[in-house]
Point group: C2
Chain length 175, copies 2
Amino acid sequence: MPQAAPVTTTLNDVDLAAVGGLIEKVKAEPGVAATTWAAEVAWAGGFRSEAKVRTFAPARSDEPAQLGGTDTGSNPVEQVLGALGNCLAVGYAANATAAGIEIRSLRIEVSGNIDLHAFLGLRPGHAGFANVSAKVHLDTDASPDAVQALHETVTSTSPVGHTLAHPVAVSVELA
Amino acid sequence: MPQAAPVTTTLNDVDLAAVGGLIEKVKAEPGVAATTWAAEVAWAGGFRSEAKVRTFAPARSDEPAQLGGTDTGSNPVEQVLGALGNCLAVGYAANATAAGIEIRSLRIEVSGNIDLHAFLGLRPGHAGFANVSAKVHLDTDASPDAVQALHETVTSTSPVGHTLAHPVAVSVELA
């Protein structure tokens, strides 16, 4: 479908009316935009745990054997990379649809580097990702300019992308 | 088990020898600490996607109906919160075991606030979490001082905690 095609709510299987409705609601009542999200994690022995979100089945987490785990699931830092890719996918789907761009396929490779010295207690300082990169494979008929504009909109509005790129106030307390 | 109990590799079901071995390897050859992690996301229509890590089954992602999704899985920002809880669980398990502290149970509630204005394109700026909080429910016989020391070690060495708290260089490129 060329990019100039009329936007319908079925393009990319995105419910554009729902998104538009939310935007109108927030414009009318800005407080609606204040959202709280949650997850609950239960330790399962060793480096295994499960994260539960709302009513979904708990997702398993572990560490690879090299890090002392039993390798029964992705590890927490891999989950962060997956979350970034998923967030970007939502961004491309939403904004492509709003722009009348059909996505034929979309695949996102995400990777990141961590120096383990801080995690292992061998050096103080930043224990997290030094950097994170996402490579976006977007198949569409849209013009290069339209794709570039889409890309800029997505990266400038990505909740997970911004959570990583900006310092976030993190508080961890013993209950 | 009191905190002064001898450390064994079965305490908390943590393979302390593997973690110790990694620390020795990194001390001998610091380059071993340079690690790269990855995930690959495939868009599945609408706001649905799947994140694949190594050989594990792809994990489903979606958005709730209020955000225009079909609510078939946790959303990306919830996944970030789950990853933080999982990461903290690894940190408590590893460092409690190293300190000879038995964990009877561990549960971590994580929540965070996002103002959707930026995500919805209604305002420029930070689209991610304004803040993230974790409440740690740790059941153990260890003394309050030992638990506090454990807590400080965990929060000062958490890869996901630090990834959120520090600005990370994020690069998103069209392939």
